[in-house]
């Protein structure tokens, strides 16, 4: 583990990725300490200011400090990303391994469901759900979990299928090993590595999706700060001030770059053959 870390820091891009991720994660975690203002406190007097020493990124139309809102928005983004990817990973691995190792008919049924979910364009599916249930953080997480499960499930299935035809699995079967033992001891350890890399590279996608939904007003409820809702404010104010757009997009771009660089160097180190399009 430490060895991997050391090798990542040796690569310039890996190092940049690591620094960005650590920086943003820490600043989100410590938002309560670092943030100079309350992110939801209204100060109409200070509205629509440009950057200054008092307001590093300026203020929005309600006079809220954008820098503080960006810091707190990071908490929302990370929360959504970690919970939804964790859950999707768990369910995806389970169904993927069952599809890859189980009988053919079960595989077909699981794949049919995966394909069906995949055929909904994610954002449209998310909007339809939000329209029915109403916007909330939980809805966003649920939608992301449902729409990401097929991605992981398909990767795990493909990997399981290729591992399944290996001789060492046949050897375990011939020795009479149970299905649970084969999956847990022999398949899972060979699947999980590449999957973790994929998951780390998915974090930016999920964060972008959360921001997108909040941008459309279908994510977190105002006044909770989110990068997406800051951008939405920016969109409505686009002819007045560019700062909310800049403030909302900077962390979004930095964290996506950070996780992508990190994930890519991890992938190159651990499994150079793994490609994004499995």
């Amino acid at each position: 583990m430490i060895d991997i870390l050391r090798r990542i820091t040796r690569e310039p891009l890996g190092m940049i990725g690591l620094v960005l991720v650590v920086l943003i994660v820490i600043s989100a975690l410590l938002a309560g300490v670092i943030a100079p203002y309350d992110p939801i406190e209204l100060r109409i007097v200070d509205r629509l200011q440009g950057p200054s020493a008092a307001h590093l990124l300026g203020t929005d139309q309600l006079g809220r400090d954008l820098f503080s809102r960006v810091l707190y928005g990071g908490q929302v983004a990370l929360k959504v990303a970690l919970i939804s990817i964790g859950a999707a990973l768990g369910v995806g691995v389970l169904f993927g391994m069952i599809a890859g190792f189980g009988p053919r008919w079960l595989d077909n049924i699981i794949m049919l469901f995966f394909d069906t979910i995949r055929s909904f364009p994610t954002v449209m599916f998310a909007l339809a759900t939000v329209a029915l249930v109403g916007p909330s953080l939980e809805t966003v997480i649920a939608v992301i979990v449902v729409t990401t499960i097929p991605n992981y499930g398909r990767v795990v299935r493909t990997q399981t299928l290729s591992i399944r035809s290996n001789e060492f699995i046949k050897a375990e079967r011939a020795m009479g090993a149970s299905m649970v033992r084969i999956l847990g001891v022999h398949v899972l350890p060979n699947v999980i590595g590449p999957l973790m890399i994929l998951a780390s590279m998915d974090i930016p996608t999920v964060i972008a999706l959360e921001a997108g939904l909040s941008f459309l007003g279908m994510g977190v409820k105002p006044p909770t700060p989110s990068w997406g809702s800051i951008l939405n404010d920016g969109y409505t104010l686009i002819r007045n001030t560019p700062w909310p757009i800049i403030a909302g997009s900077i962390p979004l771009v930095l964290i996506t770059l950070g996780f992508t660089f990190l994930g890519e160097s991890l992938r190159d180190l651990i499994d150079p053959k793994l490609r994004k399009n499995i």
Partner: protein, 314 residues
């Protein structure tokens, strides 16, 4: 071949039907009555019952689904409860805008991304390759709506080079072109990076295969090795990715249509969701799903056309 085609189409129909059923179940299962939500808190029970009947929600769920499919076969996607126009007309009226946008974006991404990827693969580890690599990652990771916002901010609002809203005047080709540039850029930018990286990776893989060594061992000029022997194989994964990418493209189109206030199916969905217009939501999601199924099937067929190994296994 014909057998395969029939199988694929049958599977596509099953997927679409399953998707519709899932949506119906979702509407049915989630708490809250769509008719009540649509009409607002002050609606009378009679009004709500009337609206439920108009939306077909008073029937039991299986009947609702059957009715929907029955109408579907007649090309009827139901009626818009607010304007009383057929949903099919609305959806198909908006669809061309979205399709034009998507095709322009992906075409533009292919024209730039694929050659860039090839160049990077063939000049591996040079400065240009590294710069392209970093830029590609940067392009991929920036969400489409952020690109849309920035291009709107810079090119439309600040510099005023391109129009900010709409799709342009009907029948005025140049006006339409001017209107499509920024939205297509917003969608296509991440695809340039994506395709460049994909083509680079698969080109490198193909160039390492034994048959390329053979082609070189027979002294074929490098140009022939690259363009005739390697490229055809290297673009195969691209076809699949674009086919599956229809979903992402539609999602990205939705954002850009909203940002640029451009007509299209994404904007239609968004507007009908904000007005809780379920039949329109249903119809548009269905059409998007069908688009996805068609594009994956098409990409499989193109793959089969390009790769004789797949062709003969069909």
């Amino acid at each position: 071949m014909l057998f395969y085609l029939i199988k694929r189409l049958a599977l596509g129909v099953v997927i679409v039907m399953l998707a519709v059923t899932l949506l119906f179940c979702m509407i049915h299962l989630v708490p809250g009555d769509p008719a009540r939500i649509l009409l607002g808190p002050r609606a009378t029970p009679e009004l709500i019952a009337g609206m439920s009947a108009r939306m077909g929600l008073d029937q039991p769920l299986p009947i609702q689904i059957l009715l929907f499919f029955g109408n579907l076969f007649r090309g009827d996607l139901g009626m818009d409860v607010i304007t009383n126009r057929p949903v099919a007309d609305m959806v198909f009226g908006q669809l061309p805008y979205t399709l034009w946008l998507i095709f322009t974006a992906i075409g533009f991404a292919m024209v730039i991304g694929i050659p860039l990827g090839c160049y990077s693969a063939l000049h591996r580890n040079t400065l240009i390759d590294r710069v392209t690599g970093v830029l590609s990652v940067a392009c991929i990771t920036v969400p489409a709506f952020v690109v849309a916002l920035y291009s709107l901010l810079i090119f439309a609002v600040t510099l005023n080079w391109f129009p900010a809203v709409g799709a342009g005047e009907q029948g005025n080709f140049w006006d339409q072109v001017r209107h499509i540039v920024l939205p297509a850029l917003a969608i296509g930018l991440s695809w340039i990076g994506y395709l460049a990286r994909l083509v680079r990776a698969s080109m490198l893989e193909v160039m390492g295969e034994n048959h390329i060594r053979t082609a070189r061992a027979y002294g074929l000029p490098e140009r022939v090795v690259v363009f005739r022997y390697a490229l055809k194989l290297a673009v195969l994964p691209t076809v699949t990715v674009i086919g599956v990418g229809m979903g992402f493209l539609l999602s990205a189109a939705l954002f850009t249509e909203i940002v640029f206030a451009r007509p299209g199916i994404g904007k239609l969905i968004f507007d009908s969701i904000t007005t809780r217009n379920y039949p329109v939501v249903m119809g548009s999601v269905l059409v998007s799903t069908v688009l996805f199924v068609i594009s994956t099937t098409l990409s499989d067929l193109v793959n089969a056309w390009l790769d004789p190994r797949i062709r003969s296994s069909l």
